[in-house]
């Protein structure tokens, strides 16, 4: 049993597709229990019964469409018109634009490619230090993970059976905290920026607003629709997908119809990758729960820690290590069902747990060895990976502090959540 677990872990580390590793572990579990392996098929089919799952392909498609259009450029122009007059303005522009964009594209690395390509040279031109720019663009690639309608938030809601509406609300203040702290650091770095400040221009602002007139209603469609009780999350996702399609393909005509199959394929490849893991984990999780793994975990954890605070410290350490090793989607699917009952035993609210989980996993995008953003940035901007590590480090430290605040101040997450 232990030998098999070690072999599976080894396979995962060697780079076997995670869904295959998880499927194997589920089947080994069934075998041990004399359960027919056919049950794996039943579990895979049961992904269809998860509520709101349709939101995942729909939002992913909308995000990919947005990133292929000129929407990123328009977004940068608008935020620039709004914030560009401030000292350190362009850095703030980058952070705000990236956060907004990541919320819609689900932190799949698309942000660095779509926005980084515009922002990195612009920052360079404005005389910011190169290392700062690289760090900023790399760490912004997963900023906004806590803002609706990001994919990880939805996935956590689906897995933990927590209201996705509440999660969307809970993410707002912690997400803003990260944004504000990084902005503070950016202002500090650029305090001696030699660049002559541009004046706020009402004309440019008007032009930028007009240009983005079609995209500005998007957050309203998503959030307004959900919070007015008018739309379920998956319905808001469907409207968003159709709306983005109409705006970018039919009105702006920035995406040709012939490009659509490629974009749909790319977005659904991501969805297929996530849902394949989700489907087989339903089986392995059910097996682990029936085998009493959460209780065993709880027993060993309660031997280590007695208070909620010490539990949270232990959780954070665990999540940071986890985040450095596996991607956010697999982590949610695999780990959340196991830690939910333990967190409940320490009176951690499941909504707060979700925010802590995602905030900590966000750091995983920037921590070696597998931080996705590091590799995308290294590849995209043609910088050695070690250089990207060290450029990102100050941002990592700041985000780490914000994660600590988010973890030990549940009120920040729960303030906006009703009940």
């Amino acid at each position: 049993m232990i030998a098999l677990t070690v072999i599976l872990a080894l396979l995962a580390i060697l780079g076997a597709p995670l869904f295959a590793v998880i499927a194997t572990s589920a089947m080994l579990g069934f075998q041990r229990d004399d359960t027919d392996l056919m049950n794996l098929a039943i579990e895979i089919l049961s992904i269809a019964d998860l509520p709101f799952l349709a939101a995942i392909p729909l939002f992913t498609f909308a995000g990919y469409l947005l990133s292929e259009s000129n929407a990123p450029r328009r977004l940068v122009r608008l935020t620039d018109a709004l914030l560009g007059w401030m000292p350190g303005g362009l850095a703030l522009v980058s952070l705000a634009a990236c956060a907004f964009f990541t919320a819609f594209t689900g932190a799949s690395g698309v942000t660095i490619i779509a926005l980084g390509a515009i922002l990195y040279p612009a920052l360079q031109q404005d005389g910011y230090p190169d290392k700062f720019n690289l760090g900023l663009v790399t760490s912004s690639g997963s900023l906004g993970l806590l803002f609706a309608p990001s994919l990880p938030l939805i996935l956590y809601g689906v897995i933990a059976e927590v209201s996705i509406d509440y999660l969307f609300l809970a993410g707002i203040l912690p997400g803003l905290l990260m944004l504000v702290m990084l902005s503070g650091w950016s202002l500090f770095v650029s305090r001696r920026s030699p660049k002559v400040l541009q004046k706020f221009s009402i004309r440019e602002f008007g032009l930028a607003i007009r240009e983005t007139a079609w995209e500005i209603p998007l957050p309203l469609v998503v959030l307004g629709g959900i919070y007015s009780g008018f739309l379920a999350v998956s319905e808001a996702a469907a409207i968003t997908a159709l709306y983005v399609f109409i705006v970018e393909v039919l009105i702006h005509r920035e995406i040709r119809l012939t490009e659509l199959p490629r974009i749909i394929r790319e977005s659904m490849v991501l969805v297929g990758g996530i849902l394949a893991i989700l489907a087989v984990s339903l089986a392995s999780t059910n097996y682990m729960i029936s085998a009493g793994v959460p209780q065993d975990l709880l027993a060993s954890v309660s031997g280590l820690v007695s208070s909620q605070a010490s539990f949270l410290i232990l959780l954070l350490v665990f999540l940071l290590i986890l985040g450095a090793l596996i991607d956010i989607f697999s982590a949610i699917v695999l780990v959340v069902p196991l830690i939910l009952p333990i967190a409940a035993a320490y009176n951690v609210d499941p909504v707060h747990l979700g925010i802590v989980f995602l905030a900590a996993m966000q750091l995983g995008y920037m921590t070696p060895p597998v931080g996705l953003n590091l590799f995308i940035a290294s590849y995209r901007f043609e910088k050695p990976i070690m250089h990207v590590y060290s450029a990102t480090f100050p941002f990592l430290v700041i985000l780490m502090v914000s994660v600590l605040v988010i973890t030990f101040w549940p009120g920040l997450s729960l303030l906006l959540v009703p009940g």
Partner: protein, 173 residues
């Protein structure tokens, strides 16, 4: 002779990609239209498509499965991708060969188990959407896993080829 075989394989490759794309476009389009149509019918006409919710769920299942097959072809399945940045190309190819063989076998086993379950569904005449035989909706699971098994096997063959000819860079594609 080998040339003919290779070009046949290349044609198959193109056809497979095209078929995946076509299915994904149709499935996603149907999902968007059905979900939006359902909202309009509900809010404006206070009615709805018959069994739309169940159909939406089946569409998501199909999207997930066809998307998985496409992810296998594009080599975009989620993996812990730490070693490929640390080890030399040759070692990476050798490891890939090993883990892809594993993935091909496991997908084959899952496909076989899902196929067995499908036989049961046929035998018991299970239905979805009132009177559609369930196996018609669920055949996508054994089908997708069988195709993934095949795709991983193709990757293995390609990796063996790369190892044999020593053109290292190709393996990461």
């Amino acid at each position: 002779m080998t040339h003919g075989l290779l070009s046949a394989l290349a044609r198959l490759e193109r056809f497979g990609r095209l078929a995946e794309n076509a299915m994904l476009v149709v499935l996603l389009g149907a999902l968007v239209l059905l979900a939006v149509g359902q909202i309009i019918l509900r809010e404006v006409f206070e009615t709805g498509f018959f069994r739309a919710d169940e159909l939406i769920k089946l569409l998501v299942l199909w999207l997930a499965m066809v998307g998985s097959v496409a992810a296998t072809r594009d080599n975009r399945h989620i993996r812990i991708d730490a070693l490929s940045h640390l080890l030399p190309d040759k070692a990476v190819t050798a490891i890939r060969l090993f883990v892809d063989t594993f993935a091909a076998v496991i997908c084959g086993v899952v496909a076989w188990q899902a196929w067995r379950y499908l036989q049961l569904e046929i035998e018991f005449e299970d239905t979805v959407l009132i009177n559609v035989p369930a196996w018609m909706a669920h055949i996508v699971v054994p089908g997708a896993f069988a195709l993934m098994s095949y795709r991983f096997a193709v990757s293995v063959i390609r990796e063996v080829f790369v190892m044999a000819t020593g053109s290292g860079a190709e393996a990461r594609r």
